[in-house]
């Protein structure tokens, strides 16, 4: 799936939060990130149930030696709809790498899995606006 495209930074320049990332991983800018381990370590989100950390604010390659990355936590972003419903007004969750679908009650109860609020209804594979506010 295509990475997210941030269209509007909200808060203070998108309220970036710095996380630790593994040095050897490649992370394109705009990747939907998850909190993968303690303390404050992030990786690309890949599946339902991931704890959403934000959107990668910078490019990371496998060889750049970078071990810290900022994630945007307050913005409007175009995200790709995964397989399943993506409906305006519904909280969204990760469904696959860089893909979101409507969250279920269980996801909402575990607030950390919520990616944001969908602002439009889109078909599977299409991009739609999501309000992110972690």
């Amino acid at each position: 799936m295509a990475v997210a495209t941030i269209t509007t930074l909200l808060g203070n320049q998108g309220d970036p939060v710095e996380y630790t990332v593994a040095a050897g991983t490649a992370i394109p800018k705009g990747t939907l990130m998850k909190i993968s381990s303690s303390p404050q370590t992030a990786a690309a989100a890949t599946a339902d149930g991931d704890f959403f950390a934000g959107i990668a604010a910078t490019e990371k390659t496998t060889t750049d030696g970078v071990t810290k990355m900022s994630c945007i936590t307050h913005c409007i972003a175009e995200m790709t709809a995964g397989t399943g419903a993506t409906t305006f007004g519904q909280p969204q969750k990760i469904s696959a790498a860089n893909a979101v679908i409507d969250a279920d009650d269980d996801t909402v109860a575990k607030a950390a899995e919520v990616v944001g609020l969908s602002l439009e209804t889109v078909a599977d594979g299409d991009a739609g606006a999501v309000l992110v506010n972690l």
């Binding site: 909402v108 209804t121 506010n133």
Partner: protein
């Protein structure tokens, strides 16, 4: 319309305004509580309980000004009117009310839906009283 939000304190970056689409013939005053009424990103004035809250209208919209885009504040403190026979309680969540621009106490299903939450009451007021609400649209809780 009556009961628009007043005494608005902008938080975040100037209230974190978000631009939405609006029908060109709609009319609404500054401070109107707005709902996301259709896809994509289209809003109208709230007019019933448990609607998807978009924010507080940040600019005047008349039926003849030709505008099709307006901004809503999404992060602020605002004085809102509590619905009749309702009591919003300090620390409790409120949702769009049965009457335009009023808020009612949020139900469990509203809170689970998240998008229907207008904000968190900063004081206890009831029965058409006016109280401060912390608004932060889209904030996961």
């Amino acid at each position: 319309m009556a009961d628009e939000a007043v005494n608005i304190t902008l938080l975040g970056n100037q209230g974190d305004p978000v631009e939405y689409i609006i029908a060109t013939g709609d009319a609404a005053a500054v401070g109107t509580l707005m709902q996301i009424s259709s896809s994509p990103k289209t809003i109208s004035a709230t007019d019933g309980a448990s609607q998807i809250f978009a924010g507080i209208l940040a600019e005047e919209k008349t039926a003849t000004d030709g505008k099709t885009k307006v901004a809503c504040w999404t992060h602020c403190l605002a004085d809102l009117t509590c619905g009749a026979a309702e009591t919003m309680v300090l620390g409790g969540t409120v949702m769009t009310g049965a009457v335009a621009n009023e808020v009612d106490v949020a139900t469990d299903s509203t809170v689970e839906g998240q998008a229907m939450v207008v904000g968190i009451a900063q004081e206890t007021v009831g029965n058409n009283g006016t109280g401060t609400v912390l608004i932060n649209v889209g904030k996961r809780r």
